[in-house]
Amino acid sequence: MNPTPHHPPEAHDPLDALLREADDYVSDDGFTQRVLTQLPAPRRQTTLRPMLLSAAVLIGATLTLWLCPTSDLELTLLLKNWSAWNWNTLLTVVPVLAVLGSLSWGLWALVKDEH
């Protein structure tokens, strides 16, 4: 069975042929350039956001360490004696690690934004 053509009755229609063959190509003539110059400037992410973030993290870190019940503990000592950790130690170490992680993320975001 032959497949049905897409537009069988119009295939030999002179009007269809006339419409299809009408050469309507419009040359660019600087049109694209005009459109591109009208585009809004690419949204440049401001460097303020990661900077504010880093500052907030730093302040938070300072406050956490300052107000922490066991802030007088030395971290290196804690890490060496990890088997002797208790809830108080965890309360110190976890915020410190979280703060360090946030700081690194903030700095990474800052560097990435600069690039």
Binding site: L15, D24, V26, F31, L39
Partner: protein, 176 residues
């Protein structure tokens, strides 16, 4: 290596690549400007202004293009909308209806037009805007009736009717 429309759209969406968008404009400016040229009855300045608006809108709304239909169909939709808004401002739609009434009154006038053998561009100007849009999209730009209905935001049956009616008028004007 040439990128497909989908590749270019993805680049625009991901990184706001203006060069990729420029390539899209270069590819599609001709059919969009030609379409708007016909909708404005040959007013190339207005057509170019509307085409420019069309591409600026496309840039802003590109995220809303879901890729379900052809990119050209989506662009024609924006272009038609731009023209419609401009026409509404100029009350051209109202005039259109009146002109259509004036142009189809007598067999003698139609016969005279046939004898004059108006060229296609002139004959297209005599159609109503809805017929012209349907004819240009379906018969000149190869859109299916479904795609044209989507671009013109009207029912499928309306597009089919407008294509048939428009062709009938063109046949009489051009005597083909």
């Amino acid at each position: 290596m040439s990128f497909t429309d989908a590749d270019l759209i993805a680049r625009v969406l991901v990184s706001g690549d203006q060069n990729a968008f420029g390539e899209l404009v270069r590819r599609h400016q001709s059919p969009v400007r030609a379409f708007l040229g016909k909708m404005t009855r040959g007013d190339t300045h207005q057509a170019d202004d509307l085409a420019q608006e069309t591409f600026l809108k496309a840039w802003n709304k590109l995220a809303s293009y879901h890729g379900s239909g052809k990119f050209t169909t989506w662009l024609f939709g924006i272009a038609y909308n731009e023209w419609r808004m401009a026409a509404r401002r100029k009350s051209e739609l109202l005039l259109d209806e009146l002109e259509d009434g004036f142009r189809e009154p007598t067999v003698a006038a139609a016969a005279e037009a046939s004898h004059l053998r108006l060229d296609l561009a002139e004959a297209l100007k005599t159609l109503t805007s809805a017929e012209r849009a349907a004819i240009v999209l379906c018969c000149q730009n190869g859109l299916s009736h479904d795609e044209a209905a989507q671009a013109l935001d009207c029912p499928l049956g309306t597009v089919k009717t407008n294509v048939l009616r428009g062709k009938e008028k063109l046949r009489r004007k051009l005597a083909v």
